[in-house]
């Protein structure tokens, strides 16, 4: 029996495809964001409010992933920006090859900002690089404040945590400060913003963050750390 060292990442194939995408995004000046959360945390609602706030001339596009149905694409297409649905037919996450296929026929040079709405799942999307510039995790106040501790991977890899549905705080036993502290236990540098897509509280702060981040990188993003 001989033991030989074996090198490389287990997800080598995906990482290679993701690296190609990242290079392509860079070449065309596309800022790509990977939105990840549990099902029902408000990813689509966030995108609705975001697209609704943009001028028609804004060069933004959306890829939205689900296991089945094109319901989300239909919801998001109403705002007049390019939207494509990716149905994974059972797969619990998007991978880089799905993104590449979904982008076929789109002129990347005409897109500045690309939102990728991942399949609702806090675990599996964590492992798959999509060539994005940053991952953003959403946590709604109707979930538990211990989520960052239970699913550390995604909170560790996300630049920003959006605490959503804050209009419901009076009605749910969710301690938002504990949720933030838990996220920082896992990832001390994570940035945090609170918002409600119903009342639009905090929405401007989110819009400013994404603009600044897309334009000038992380350092240009407004300080959100409380």
């Amino acid at each position: 029996m001989t033991r030989v060292p074996m090198e490389g990442k287990v997800l080598n194939e995906n990482d290679r495809a993701a690296a190609e995408l990242r290079a392509e995004f860079a070449r065309h000046g596309v800022f790509a964001v990977n939105l990840i959360s549990s099902p029902g945390s408000g990813k689509t609602a966030l995108l609705e409010r975001t697209l609704e706030s943009y001028d028609r001339g804004r060069r933004v596009a959306v890829l939205t992933g689900d296991i089945q149905t094109d319901a989300d694409a239909a919801r998001l297409a109403r705002y007049g920006f390019p939207v494509r649905q990716i149905t994974t037919a059972g797969a619990c996450h998007l991978d880089a090859r799905m993104i590449r296929r979904a982008l076929e026929g789109w002129d990347l040079a005409a897109i500045d900002l690309l939102f990728i709405e991942n399949v609702g799942n806090l675990v599996c999307p964590t492992s798959y690089d999509l060539g994005e510039a940053c991952k953003i995790v959403l946590l709604s106040v109707t979930e538990g404040e211990e989520k960052p501790l239970k699913y550390p991977g995604i909170f560790f890899k996300s630049e920003l945590m959006l605490l959503t549905k804050i209009d419901l705080l009076p009605y749910v036993p969710f301690d938002i400060d504990v949720a933030e502290a838990n996220a920082r236990t896992i990832h001390p540098e994570i940035q945090i913003a609170r918002l409600s897509c119903t009342t639009k509280e905090g929405l401007d702060e989110w819009l400013r963050w994404i603009d600044a981040r897309a334009l000038g990188g992380m350092k240009a993003a407004p300080e959100l750390v409380r």
Binding site: M1, T2, R3, V4, P5, M6, E7, G8, K9, V10, L11, N12, E13, N14, A91, C92, H93, D95, N121, V123, C124, T126, S127, Y128, Y151, P152, G153, I154, F156, K157, I186
Partner: protein, 82 residues
């Protein structure tokens, strides 16, 4: 759930690696998985077992070692040389 895909990726890599080392055959593959990798080791071990069964690589063992943070990398391959 995505552990099946990960297990498949491991098998593909083992296949490629042993192809280059014929006639040796792989008996065990070691991977390092960090706590932040978003991989459940038990689920991966189970998926791996199911996929190996009846495949050209049977019998093949998987050894999972703790890795650093979000590490998800190969560590070693054990070969049997006839």
């Amino acid at each position: 759930m995505h552990e099946v895909g990960i297990a498949n990726g491991i098998l593909d890599a083992v296949r490629k690696e042993t192809e280059a080392r014929k006639p040796a055959r792989a008996v065990k593959v070691g991977v390092r998985i960090g706590e932040m990798a978003g991989i459940d080791p038990q689920s991966l071990a189970f998926s791996f077992e199911v996929l190996v069964k009846g495949s050209d690589l049977e019998p093949l063992d998987l050894a999972i070692e703790p890795g650093v943070l979000d590490e998800l990398e190969f560590a070693y391959l054990e070969l049997e040389v006839p």
